[in-house]
Symmetry: C2
Subunit: 216 residues, 2 copies
DNA sequence: GGGTGTGAAGCCGTTCACAGCA
DNA sequence: TGCTGTGAACGGCTTCACACCC
């Protein structure tokens, strides 16, 4: 299978989620319809779907079942569930646990880690929680290759290093620090403060022109 | 001031945060040094800093104070604090409150909203919480132009519409749904499940080659 | 010599536009 | 006729490369 770009993978994940929400009896969908619900364009959707090799029919559109199945083949582990490790069980960590319970059933948070002795060696919503110092050991033991970092900035690089030691190859980071990882580890950082600053900046730009309050 | 791109705004925000963490007595920094801590490249940094019109000196680098001040002029509201509204006080919402307490002091969550009558009409960490139906009213009253959506997917579009009605021009969305907003509203969506699926995908790709466990 | 500022090139992702087909 | 699949054009961002300067 050739390389599929980052962006396309992200959109395929979105398309699948949207397709799964369609009425069960719905069989086909046109690119422009999927584009509408994904807030995208028809060309973009067609381009993206090319990588699935699910071909649409000009009269009917794309077969929904086929798309869902093929996107699953691309994104999901062939077998059962994929185990993910979560480090940090603060508000953010707990929000993520809730998120996952609703979402993709193929992904499961298998183990959690926290610094707080109160949380360690207990279950949180069925997830066992261990202390930081057992990180790499337990990741190796469970053969986990994906980790989520939900700890404060100061701890993030140390946690990352332990994860890498434990054999993790993909990290989703919520700490507001640029992390250093080896070349064979894929890192996605979600920087909430930066995102918010962007929004504030553009909100201001857009609010300015109509300074004399446009609301009636 | 000419248009500054999305990406550049994001990096300026990051650069400022990193510069603020430098030792107080540090006066100058070279582009390659800033690049190292930002996990970027020297050319990228120099390109980005061009928009600030803070010029570096080949012998010394860039003056840190000047950079921080100029980035502040670009990103921050000229006067005091910028008020932000938060909708949804679940785990995610509370995590965001905590985030903001640590971060940028220029940004402050002024009001919160929740569906839960238990939370409504009380203070959470000093932030007053109102019911959903007062959203647009209160946003207008407080002249708030920036909102954060931290509610479940089902409620997100309705909340968005109310925000827009209330005069919001920038939205940071954490609900896993593509939202529809008018052209003059700037929207950033952070889709955690999609980000995680990306990470899982690439983690698998990277883990595969060394299937016969490389750890000694 | 080593770093900056910046045109120019390169790269990638998106959009256009159109032939082919149900 | 209206939609698909896709080569080609376009546009934006990043990287290169080099003249200029301390």
């Amino acid at each position: 299978m050739k390389k599929i770009s980052d962006k396309v993978i992200g959109r395929l994940s979105l398309y699948r989620r949207l397709l799964l929400q369609l009425p069960q009896n719905r069989e086909f969908i046109f690119s422009h319809e999927l584009a509408t619900i994904a807030k995208s364009t028809a060309s973009q959707v067609r381009r993206d779907l090319m990588v699935t090799h699910v071909y649409g029919n000009p009269a009917r559109g794309y077969e929904i079942k086929g798309l869902i199945a093929t996107i699953g083949q691309i994104l999901d582990q062939p077998q059962e569930q994929t185990a993910v490790a979560l480090v940090g069980l603060g508000n953010l960590g707990r929000a993520l646990v809730a998120y996952m319970e609703g979402g993709q059933p193929k992904l499961r948070i298998d183990v959690a880690f926290d610094r707080d002795p109160e949380k360690v060696d207990r279950l949180y919503r069925g997830i066992p929680c261990y202390p930081f110092h057992r990180l790499s050991e337990i990741l190796q033991e469970h053969q986990i290759v994906t980790g989520i970092i939900a700890v404060p900035a100061e701890a993030a690089q140390a946690v990352t290093d332990e994860m890498v030691l434990g054999g993790v190859k993909g990290i989703l980071n919520f700490a507001p620090v640029p992390l250093h990882v080896p070349a064979d580890v894929y890192l996605v950082s979600i920087d909430v403060m930066t995102a918010l600053e962007k929004v504030v900046y553009y909100a201001r730009q857009n609010a300015k022109p109509s300074d004399k309050r446009k609301e009636a």
